[in-house]
């Protein structure tokens, strides 16, 4: 019975990861990835590994979405700039 919280966290992580694969738009994928990072941190905490969860929080909740969104923005801008020439 004490493992219920671990099972719930595992199921949520599995669902979030599957969703991140199934969503096709990169911007929306970044949103799902942010949620996945936070859920992974909760899973690590339930497995008594709070130090891993701490680094996962730092990377997953703010850094990964920031890098993804900056990349998407740069690609879109380049496409807009070079689009009419082609």
């Amino acid at each position: 019975m004490a493992d219920a919280v671990i099972i719930v966290a595992l199921l949520l992580v599995a669902a979030a990861a599957t969703t991140a694969v199934l969503v096709r738009d990169p911007v929306r994928q970044a949103l799902v990835l942010a949620v996945l990072g936070v859920l992974l941190a909760v899973l690590f905490t339930t497995l008594q590994a709070p130090d891993v969860g701490l680094s996962q929080l730092a990377v997953g909740s703010a850094l990964t979405p920031l890098l993804l969104l900056l990349t998407v923005r740069k690609v879109r801008r380049r496409g807009r700039k070079e689009g009419p020439r082609r």
């Binding site: 929306r28 949103l31 859920l39 905490t45 709070p50 969860g53 701490l54 730092a58 923005r73």
Partner: protein, 150 residues
């Protein structure tokens, strides 16, 4: 399994499940709000787990998440400003629901720990959580129009 872990399990199953559904479906405005709420909910779950496992040092995780969750939402609010300007999110109901839940959980934890440095830390986490969540929601709904030059 004590009551705190049970509460954390229920909050994780119901709340994070709902935010996961919200972030996976629907228009973009609903997805950003769901992402914001998921960080606040996870912060509450981490606080409850710290009390349930009887390890006060686990509160550090909730502290980091209370700081970084709104930062992540502000990243989305800033970089998706063009998309969100056409269809601004209005979700004060769920935001106040989560803020109320946060206040209730922090109060319960403070009562459980008693007056000490630990409860002062809990109060700091609660203040960061509530303030950050309100600021992030306001940024998402276009409250800071000076920042919209994305």
């Amino acid at each position: 399994m004590n009551g705190w872990i049970l509460a954390a399990t229920v909050a994780l199953g119901a709340g994070a499940g709902a935010t996961l559904w919200g972030v996976a479906t629907g228009p973009l405005r609903r997805r950003v709000v769901a992402q914001n709420l998921s960080t606040a909910l996870a912060c509450l779950v981490l606080l409850l787990l710290a009390q349930g496992y009887d390890r006060p040092s686990y509160v550090d995780l909730a502290l980091v998440l209370a700081l970084l969750g709104p930062v992540g939402t502000l990243v989305f609010a800033r970089l998706l400003a063009d998309d969100l300007a056409e269809d601004p999110p209005r979700a004060w109901g769920p935001t106040y629901l989560v803020v109320g839940a946060g206040a209730a959980v922090v109060t319960a934890l403070c009562v459980a720990t008693g007056p000490s440095r630990a409860s002062a830390k809990l109060l700091v986490v609660g203040a960061l959580l509530i303030g950050g969540n309100v600021v992030a929601s306001r940024a998402l709904s276009g409250g800071f129009s000076g920042l919209r030059r994305g």
